[in-house]
């Protein structure tokens, strides 16, 4: 039996588990950040990304329902997170669709599940699985810490490029702007909940493992986007990566 980590140690371990597989390192993200993607590529991203983030409130709802009643603060956070995704102002997915329309696709194509890759389906299915089957604290570690907390660093890198290099307007890229603020709150609150409630060795190890897997899933998803839509036009060597 290993030793229970104190909250500082657990936080560092969670961050390390995510860092090794950050989606920032995927060829799709590198091509995006360096301004090499076309609007068609970005349209395909929207048609996939919708099916990953669109059900996010549903993933959280399963976790919310399974959290014990005495975890009141954690439950309230899940509710607030769901509310902010869907109702606080514009529905977040509507802003994603607006960006997609600016890239040349349309609402119907984005909503159509036939337009996502098999890997995007896998990521969506993994999120549902985690939400429905894992210990709720482990699920928060996977979905909120492992996935959602990565978003601000990804979008902070990508958003200026969307404006300055790709030429999108502020309104067209609002989806990315808002996630820098809201996901920073959600990610950090996710950390706080996991640090507070994962107080046994077994639970901590499960949280670490699921963060690692979550980050791997996101990396797998973005890498598949590159392979499916971009690789034939922009080789890895153009992105400073070994083929």
């Amino acid at each position: 039996m290993g030793q229970v980590l104190n909250p500082d140690e657990l936080r560092t371990a969670l961050e390390t588990a995510i860092k090794g597989n950050t989606a920032n390192a995927s060829p799709f993200s590198l091509a995006w950040a360096s301004g090499k993607l076309s609007r068609d590529h970005l349209a395909r991203w929207c048609e996939n990304h919708y099916h990953y983030v669109g059900p996010f409130a549903e993933y959280l709802a399963y976790v919310y329902a399974r959290l014990p009643a005495e975890f009141e603060e954690a439950k309230d956070f899940m509710l607030q997170n769901m509310y902010e995704e869907e109702l606080a102002a514009d529905r977040h997915t509507d802003l994603l669709i607006r960006f997609g329309e600016a890239c040349g696709t349309n609402r119907a194509r984005i909503l159509n599940p036939d337009n996502m890759t098999a890997t995007t389906r896998a990521l969506q299915a993994w999120c549902y699985t985690v939400a429905m089957r894992e210990d709720p604290i482990v699920a928060i570690a996977g979905l909120v810490v492992g996935l959602e907390s990565q978003v601000p660093s990804i979008y902070r890198k990508q958003t200026p490029t969307l404006r300055d290099t790709y030429g999108f307007t502020d309104e067209e890229v609002e989806f990315f702007d808002l996630h820098i603020v809201s996901d920073e709150i959600h990610g950090e609150r996710g950390y706080q909940i996991v640090l507070e409630h994962a107080r046994t060795y077994e639970l901590q190890q499960k949280c670490l493992k699921i963060c690692e897997i979550g980050a791997q899933m996101r990396l797998l998803y973005t890498t598949a986007l590159y392979n499916e839509y971009v690789g034939a036009e922009i080789p890895l060597s153009d992105l400073g990566l070994a083929a």
Partner: protein, 97 residues
């Protein structure tokens, strides 16, 4: 560390925040100015986080398109949306109840 002074409902709340802090993010993660800063959407749409800057406005980025859309002429009176601001220096602000 920037010092933040928040006037609200006749009370004054003071706290230090890390450089480049968004006060809505900070309140959202239960740090200062939680629970005294009102906010809702965090995306520059609802205006719940509107504050009047009393001191330190010079260190802020100019208002962005969301603040212009939401606040209009109130910008000239010193109002800003806290969710759109990243605080890098000392600041004093007031939020109407």
């Amino acid at each position: 560390m920037p010092k933040v002074i928040l006037h609200k409902g006749g009370e004054v709340f003071e706290g230090d925040v890390a450089p480049k802090t968004n006060l809505v993010v900070s309140a959202g993660i239960r740090k200062f100015p939680f629970p005294n800063l009102a906010y809702k959407c965090g995306m520059g749409k609802c205006s719940t986080c509107t504050c009047r800057i009393l001191a330190g406005a010079d260190h802020l980025e100019p208002p962005n398109w969301k603040e212009k859309r939401q606040l209009g002429e109130r910008l000239d009176e010193g109002y800003r949306l806290a969710c759109q601001l990243w605080v890098t220096e000392d600041i004093e602000l007031a939020q109407d109840v």
